[in-house]
Protein backbone atom coordinates (compact mmCIF):
# COMPACT_ATOMS: atom_id res chain seq x y z
CA UNK A 1 0.00 0.00 0.00
CA UNK A 2 1.28 3.46 -0.87
CA UNK A 3 2.41 5.46 2.17
CA UNK A 4 0.30 8.43 3.27
CA UNK A 5 2.23 11.70 3.25
CA UNK A 6 0.64 14.78 4.80
CA UNK A 7 1.13 18.34 3.57
CA UNK A 8 0.10 21.10 5.97
CA UNK A 9 -1.75 24.13 4.64
CA UNK A 10 -1.36 27.29 6.71
CA UNK A 11 -3.10 30.55 5.83
CA UNK A 12 -0.65 31.95 3.30
CA UNK A 13 0.92 28.67 2.20
CA UNK A 14 1.62 28.74 -1.55
CA UNK A 15 3.31 25.50 -2.50
CA UNK A 16 1.08 23.05 -0.64
CA UNK A 17 -0.60 21.96 -3.88
CA UNK A 18 2.71 21.46 -5.67
CA UNK A 19 3.90 19.39 -2.70
CA UNK A 20 0.72 17.28 -2.75
CA UNK A 21 1.15 16.79 -6.50
CA UNK A 22 4.82 15.83 -6.11
CA UNK A 23 3.87 13.22 -3.49
CA UNK A 24 1.29 11.76 -5.89
CA UNK A 25 3.60 11.85 -8.95
CA UNK A 26 6.29 10.03 -6.99
CA UNK A 27 3.91 7.26 -5.98
CA UNK A 28 2.49 7.95 -2.51
CA UNK A 29 -0.91 9.01 -1.26
CA UNK A 30 -1.03 12.74 -0.51
CA UNK A 31 -3.12 13.90 2.45
CA UNK A 32 -3.97 17.55 2.91
CA UNK A 33 -3.64 18.65 6.56
CA UNK A 34 -5.17 21.85 7.91
CA UNK A 35 -3.16 24.06 10.27
CA UNK A 36 -6.12 24.49 12.63
CA UNK A 37 -6.62 20.75 13.21
CA UNK A 38 -4.91 18.91 16.01
CA UNK A 39 -4.61 15.61 14.16
CA UNK A 40 -2.19 14.25 11.58
CA UNK A 41 -4.90 11.93 10.20
CA UNK A 42 -2.74 8.84 10.29
CA UNK A 43 -0.03 10.06 7.89
CA UNK A 44 3.44 8.52 8.08
CA UNK A 45 5.40 11.63 7.12
CA UNK A 46 4.70 15.38 7.00
CA UNK A 47 5.76 18.14 4.61
CA UNK A 48 5.62 21.80 5.67
CA UNK A 49 5.39 23.62 2.34
CA UNK A 50 6.70 26.96 1.09
CA UNK A 51 4.81 30.23 1.05
CA UNK A 52 4.14 33.15 3.35
CA UNK A 53 2.26 31.56 6.24
CA UNK A 54 0.51 34.20 8.34
CA UNK A 55 1.85 36.77 5.89
CA UNK A 56 5.33 36.33 7.39
CA UNK A 57 4.06 38.66 10.13
CA UNK A 58 6.39 39.10 13.13
CA UNK A 59 9.04 36.76 11.65
CA UNK A 60 8.77 34.08 8.97
CA UNK A 61 7.23 31.02 10.61
CA UNK A 62 6.95 32.61 14.07
CA UNK A 63 3.16 32.47 14.23
CA UNK A 64 2.64 29.26 12.22
CA UNK A 65 4.95 27.52 14.65
CA UNK A 66 2.14 27.78 17.24
CA UNK A 67 -0.68 26.55 14.95
CA UNK A 68 -2.62 23.65 16.53
CA UNK A 69 -1.33 21.10 14.00
CA UNK A 70 2.25 22.04 14.87
CA UNK A 71 1.92 20.61 18.38
CA UNK A 72 1.30 17.24 16.69
CA UNK A 73 4.04 17.76 14.11
CA UNK A 74 6.57 18.58 16.85
CA UNK A 75 5.53 15.55 18.90
CA UNK A 76 5.73 13.28 15.83
CA UNK A 77 9.07 14.76 14.73
CA UNK A 78 10.57 14.18 18.16
CA UNK A 79 9.28 10.60 18.05
CA UNK A 80 11.05 9.97 14.71
CA UNK A 81 8.44 10.66 12.03
CA UNK A 82 9.99 12.00 8.80
CA UNK A 83 9.30 15.75 8.54
CA UNK A 84 10.39 17.88 5.57
CA UNK A 85 10.31 21.68 5.74
CA UNK A 86 10.66 23.45 2.43
CA UNK A 87 11.51 27.19 2.42
CA UNK A 88 8.80 28.67 4.69
CA UNK A 89 8.52 25.14 6.13
CA UNK A 90 12.25 25.27 6.98
CA UNK A 91 11.68 28.64 8.69
CA UNK A 92 8.81 27.11 10.70
CA UNK A 93 10.98 24.14 11.77
CA UNK A 94 13.67 26.54 13.00
CA UNK A 95 11.12 28.67 14.88
CA UNK A 96 9.73 25.45 16.40
CA UNK A 97 13.27 24.46 17.49
CA UNK A 98 13.01 21.13 15.68
CA UNK A 99 16.05 22.43 13.80
CA UNK A 100 18.72 24.79 15.16
CA UNK A 101 19.55 28.27 13.84
CA UNK A 102 17.37 30.77 11.98
CA UNK A 103 16.73 32.19 8.52
CA UNK A 104 17.22 35.92 8.02
CA UNK A 105 16.75 38.30 5.11
CA UNK A 106 19.04 37.62 2.13
CA UNK A 107 22.28 39.57 2.34
CA UNK A 108 21.69 40.70 -1.26
CA UNK A 109 18.48 42.40 -0.02
CA UNK A 110 16.42 41.19 -2.96
CA UNK A 111 14.11 38.26 -3.53
CA UNK A 112 16.13 35.53 -5.23
CA UNK A 113 14.42 33.24 -7.75
CA UNK A 114 16.65 30.91 -9.74
CA UNK A 115 17.62 27.35 -10.62
CA UNK A 116 20.21 26.70 -7.92
CA UNK A 117 23.07 24.21 -7.94
CA UNK A 118 23.46 22.27 -4.71
CA UNK A 119 25.97 19.71 -3.49
CA UNK A 120 24.58 16.75 -1.55
CA UNK A 121 26.58 16.52 1.68
CA UNK A 122 24.68 13.72 3.39
CA UNK A 123 22.53 10.83 2.16
CA UNK A 124 22.01 9.71 5.74
CA UNK A 125 18.56 11.19 6.41
CA UNK A 126 15.07 9.81 5.81
CA UNK A 127 14.62 12.29 2.93
CA UNK A 128 17.96 11.90 1.12
CA UNK A 129 18.90 8.18 0.92
CA UNK A 130 18.33 8.16 -2.85
CA UNK A 131 21.05 10.78 -3.36
CA UNK A 132 24.78 10.12 -3.32
CA UNK A 133 27.18 12.26 -1.32
CA UNK A 134 29.01 14.74 -3.55
CA UNK A 135 26.29 14.66 -6.21
CA UNK A 136 25.51 18.08 -7.73
CA UNK A 137 21.80 18.69 -8.18
CA UNK A 138 19.83 21.66 -9.46
CA UNK A 139 16.65 22.72 -7.65
CA UNK A 140 14.49 25.83 -7.76
CA UNK A 141 15.32 28.44 -5.09
CA UNK A 142 12.93 31.33 -4.41
CA UNK A 143 13.00 33.36 -1.23
CA UNK A 144 13.62 36.71 0.37
CA UNK A 145 14.65 35.41 3.77
CA UNK A 146 16.86 32.42 3.13
CA UNK A 147 20.08 33.40 4.88
CA UNK A 148 20.89 30.58 7.29
CA UNK A 149 22.52 31.78 10.51
CA UNK A 150 23.50 30.05 13.74
CA UNK A 151 26.09 30.64 16.44
CA UNK A 152 29.61 29.22 16.09
CA UNK A 153 28.96 26.34 18.46
CA UNK A 154 25.84 25.24 16.55
CA UNK A 155 27.68 25.46 13.21
CA UNK A 156 30.55 23.39 14.60
CA UNK A 157 28.10 20.77 15.81
CA UNK A 158 26.18 20.66 12.51
CA UNK A 159 29.41 20.28 10.53
CA UNK A 160 30.93 17.79 12.98
CA UNK A 161 27.84 15.57 13.05
CA UNK A 162 27.35 15.61 9.27
CA UNK A 163 24.04 17.44 9.59
CA UNK A 164 24.65 19.94 6.80
CA UNK A 165 22.93 17.98 4.04
CA UNK A 166 22.94 20.45 1.13
CA UNK A 167 25.31 23.28 0.32
CA UNK A 168 24.97 26.01 -2.30
CA UNK A 169 27.58 25.68 -5.04
CA UNK A 170 28.54 28.06 -7.87
CA UNK A 171 27.72 31.05 -5.68
CA UNK A 172 26.02 31.63 -2.34
CA UNK A 173 22.68 33.26 -3.25
CA UNK A 174 21.70 34.67 0.16
CA UNK A 175 24.61 34.93 2.57
CA UNK A 176 23.92 31.65 4.39
CA UNK A 177 26.72 30.72 6.81
CA UNK A 178 28.92 27.92 5.45
CA UNK A 179 26.84 28.02 2.20
CA UNK A 180 24.19 25.99 4.03
CA UNK A 181 21.07 25.21 1.98
CA UNK A 182 19.65 22.44 4.16
CA UNK A 183 20.19 20.72 7.52
CA UNK A 184 18.71 17.88 9.56
CA UNK A 185 18.14 17.09 13.22
CA UNK A 186 20.25 14.63 15.22
CA UNK A 187 18.23 11.58 14.20
CA UNK A 188 18.06 12.60 10.54
CA UNK A 189 14.26 12.37 10.37
CA UNK A 190 13.62 16.13 10.35
CA UNK A 191 15.04 17.93 7.31
CA UNK A 192 14.75 21.58 6.33
CA UNK A 193 15.99 23.25 3.17
CA UNK A 194 15.39 26.53 1.34
CA UNK A 195 15.24 25.19 -2.26
CA UNK A 196 11.98 23.67 -3.51
CA UNK A 197 12.24 19.99 -4.51
CA UNK A 198 8.46 19.83 -5.11
CA UNK A 199 8.94 22.07 -8.18
CA UNK A 200 11.51 19.70 -9.71
CA UNK A 201 9.54 16.49 -10.24
CA UNK A 202 8.21 16.85 -13.75
CA UNK A 203 9.95 17.61 -17.07
CA UNK A 204 7.07 19.83 -18.20
CA UNK A 205 7.46 22.39 -15.41
CA UNK A 206 10.94 21.86 -14.00
CA UNK A 207 14.37 22.08 -15.66
CA UNK A 208 15.45 18.97 -13.73
CA UNK A 209 13.75 16.16 -11.84
CA UNK A 210 16.24 16.39 -8.98
CA UNK A 211 13.39 16.83 -6.50
CA UNK A 212 12.08 13.29 -6.96
CA UNK A 213 14.69 11.52 -4.80
CA UNK A 214 13.42 13.44 -1.72
CA UNK A 215 10.06 11.74 -2.07
CA UNK A 216 11.31 8.32 -3.18
CA UNK A 217 13.81 8.34 -0.28
CA UNK A 218 11.09 8.77 2.31
CA UNK A 219 8.85 6.19 0.61
CA UNK A 220 11.71 3.65 0.75
CA UNK A 221 12.33 4.50 4.39
CA UNK A 222 8.66 3.99 5.26
CA UNK A 223 8.44 0.75 3.25
CA UNK A 224 11.54 -0.63 4.99
CA UNK A 225 10.10 0.31 8.39
CA UNK A 226 7.00 -1.86 7.78
Amino acid sequence: MAPKIGVVTFPGSLDDHDALRAVRLCGAEPVSLWHGNDTLEGVEAVILPGGFSYGDYLRCGAISRFAPVMAEVIKAGEAGMPILGICNGFQILCEAHLLPGALIRNDVRVFVCKDQDLRVESADTTWTTDFTVGQIINVVLKNGEGGYVADEETLRRLEGEGRVIFRYVNGNPNGSFHDIAGICNERGNVVGLMPHPEHNVDSLTGPTQNGRPFFTSVFNFLAAKV
Binding site: F52, I63, C87, A102, L103, I104, R109, F111, G147, V149
Partner: protein
Protein backbone atom coordinates in the same frame (compact mmCIF):
# COMPACT_ATOMS: atom_id res chain seq x y z
CA UNK B 1 -3.80 50.20 32.35
CA UNK B 2 -0.04 50.39 32.14
CA UNK B 3 2.13 50.30 29.11
CA UNK B 4 5.08 47.95 28.91
CA UNK B 5 7.40 48.25 25.94
CA UNK B 6 9.41 45.39 24.49
CA UNK B 7 12.22 46.50 22.21
CA UNK B 8 13.61 43.77 19.97
CA UNK B 9 16.89 44.21 18.11
CA UNK B 10 18.94 41.93 15.86
CA UNK B 11 22.02 40.67 17.71
CA UNK B 12 25.14 42.70 16.87
CA UNK B 13 26.81 39.76 15.14
CA UNK B 14 23.77 39.09 12.95
CA UNK B 15 23.65 40.88 9.61
CA UNK B 16 20.82 43.43 9.44
CA UNK B 17 20.00 43.86 5.74
CA UNK B 18 17.06 46.20 6.48
CA UNK B 19 19.24 48.48 8.58
CA UNK B 20 21.85 48.45 5.82
CA UNK B 21 19.25 49.45 3.23
CA UNK B 22 18.03 52.30 5.46
CA UNK B 23 21.63 53.41 6.09
CA UNK B 24 22.22 53.53 2.35
CA UNK B 25 19.02 55.49 1.71
CA UNK B 26 19.90 58.03 4.42
CA UNK B 27 23.34 58.55 2.88
CA UNK B 28 21.77 59.12 -0.55
CA UNK B 29 19.52 61.77 1.03
CA UNK B 30 22.54 63.55 2.47
CA UNK B 31 22.23 62.25 6.04
CA UNK B 32 25.80 61.07 6.33
CA UNK B 33 27.65 59.45 9.19
CA UNK B 34 24.55 57.56 10.38
CA UNK B 35 24.67 53.81 10.68
CA UNK B 36 21.26 52.23 11.28
CA UNK B 37 20.21 48.93 12.80
CA UNK B 38 16.51 48.23 12.60
CA UNK B 39 14.50 46.50 15.28
CA UNK B 40 10.91 46.21 16.45
CA UNK B 41 8.99 47.92 19.23
CA UNK B 42 6.01 46.18 20.85
CA UNK B 43 3.67 48.14 23.12
CA UNK B 44 1.78 45.95 25.56
CA UNK B 45 -1.16 47.51 27.41
CA UNK B 46 -1.39 45.57 30.66
CA UNK B 47 -4.54 45.35 32.69
CA UNK B 48 -4.04 46.03 36.38
CA UNK B 49 -0.82 46.82 38.19
CA UNK B 50 2.64 46.16 36.83
CA UNK B 51 4.13 43.77 39.36
CA UNK B 52 7.36 41.80 39.19
CA UNK B 53 5.28 38.71 38.32
CA UNK B 54 3.57 40.53 35.46
CA UNK B 55 6.93 41.72 34.13
CA UNK B 56 8.27 38.18 34.36
CA UNK B 57 5.25 37.09 32.32
CA UNK B 58 5.99 39.76 29.70
CA UNK B 59 9.58 38.53 29.52
CA UNK B 60 8.28 34.99 28.96
CA UNK B 61 5.98 36.29 26.21
CA UNK B 62 8.93 38.08 24.61
CA UNK B 63 11.08 34.95 24.74
CA UNK B 64 8.31 32.70 23.46
CA UNK B 65 6.95 34.77 20.60
CA UNK B 66 7.99 38.41 20.26
CA UNK B 67 11.71 37.75 19.84
CA UNK B 68 13.68 34.85 18.39
CA UNK B 69 16.57 34.73 20.81
CA UNK B 70 18.69 32.83 18.29
CA UNK B 71 19.06 36.05 16.31
CA UNK B 72 17.54 38.81 18.45
CA UNK B 73 17.85 40.41 21.88
CA UNK B 74 15.03 42.15 23.74
CA UNK B 75 14.56 44.68 26.50
CA UNK B 76 11.40 44.99 28.60
CA UNK B 77 10.64 48.35 30.20
CA UNK B 78 7.67 50.06 31.78
CA UNK B 79 6.76 53.27 30.03
CA UNK B 80 6.07 56.31 32.21
CA UNK B 81 2.41 57.31 32.59
CA UNK B 82 1.53 60.15 30.23
CA UNK B 83 0.87 63.41 32.13
CA UNK B 84 -2.36 64.07 30.25
CA UNK B 85 -4.88 61.73 28.63
CA UNK B 86 -3.74 60.35 25.26
CA UNK B 87 -6.32 62.34 23.27
CA UNK B 88 -4.81 65.62 24.56
CA UNK B 89 -1.23 64.57 24.05
CA UNK B 90 -1.20 64.88 20.26
CA UNK B 91 -2.68 68.38 20.39
CA UNK B 92 -0.16 69.43 23.01
CA UNK B 93 2.88 68.28 21.11
CA UNK B 94 1.59 69.90 17.93
CA UNK B 95 0.99 73.26 19.68
CA UNK B 96 4.05 73.49 21.84
CA UNK B 97 6.35 72.17 19.16
CA UNK B 98 10.06 72.52 19.73
CA UNK B 99 9.92 74.58 22.90
CA UNK B 100 8.27 71.86 24.93
CA UNK B 101 10.55 69.20 23.46
CA UNK B 102 13.63 71.05 24.63
CA UNK B 103 12.20 71.41 28.11
CA UNK B 104 11.47 67.71 28.44
CA UNK B 105 14.02 65.07 29.21
CA UNK B 106 15.31 62.80 26.48
CA UNK B 107 12.80 60.00 27.04
CA UNK B 108 9.80 62.31 26.89
CA UNK B 109 11.16 64.08 23.85
CA UNK B 110 11.31 60.70 22.18
CA UNK B 111 7.68 59.95 22.91
CA UNK B 112 6.63 63.41 21.68
CA UNK B 113 8.47 62.78 18.42
CA UNK B 114 6.74 59.45 18.13
CA UNK B 115 3.37 61.08 18.73
CA UNK B 116 4.11 63.54 15.92
CA UNK B 117 5.26 60.77 13.66
CA UNK B 118 2.03 58.95 14.47
CA UNK B 119 -0.01 61.95 13.33
CA UNK B 120 1.74 62.00 9.99
CA UNK B 121 1.41 58.26 9.47
CA UNK B 122 -0.67 57.16 6.47
CA UNK B 123 -4.18 55.82 6.98
CA UNK B 124 -4.67 52.21 8.02
CA UNK B 125 -5.68 51.20 4.49
CA UNK B 126 -2.61 52.80 2.96
CA UNK B 127 -0.37 51.18 5.54
CA UNK B 128 -1.85 47.78 4.81
CA UNK B 129 -1.52 48.18 1.06
CA UNK B 130 2.13 49.08 1.55
CA UNK B 131 2.65 46.08 3.77
CA UNK B 132 1.19 43.74 1.19
CA UNK B 133 3.36 45.22 -1.54
CA UNK B 134 6.37 44.62 0.67
CA UNK B 135 5.30 41.06 1.45
CA UNK B 136 5.25 40.25 -2.24
CA UNK B 137 9.01 40.82 -2.30
CA UNK B 138 9.81 38.64 0.68
CA UNK B 139 10.48 34.97 1.43
CA UNK B 140 8.65 32.20 -0.40
Amino acid sequence: MARVVVDVMPKPEILDPQGKAVTGALARLGFTGMSVRQGKRFELELEGEVTEERLAEVRRAAETLLANTVIETFIVRVEAEPESPPEDRDVESADDGEASEQAEDAEQAKSAEQAEAGEQAPSAEQAEAGEQAELATQAG
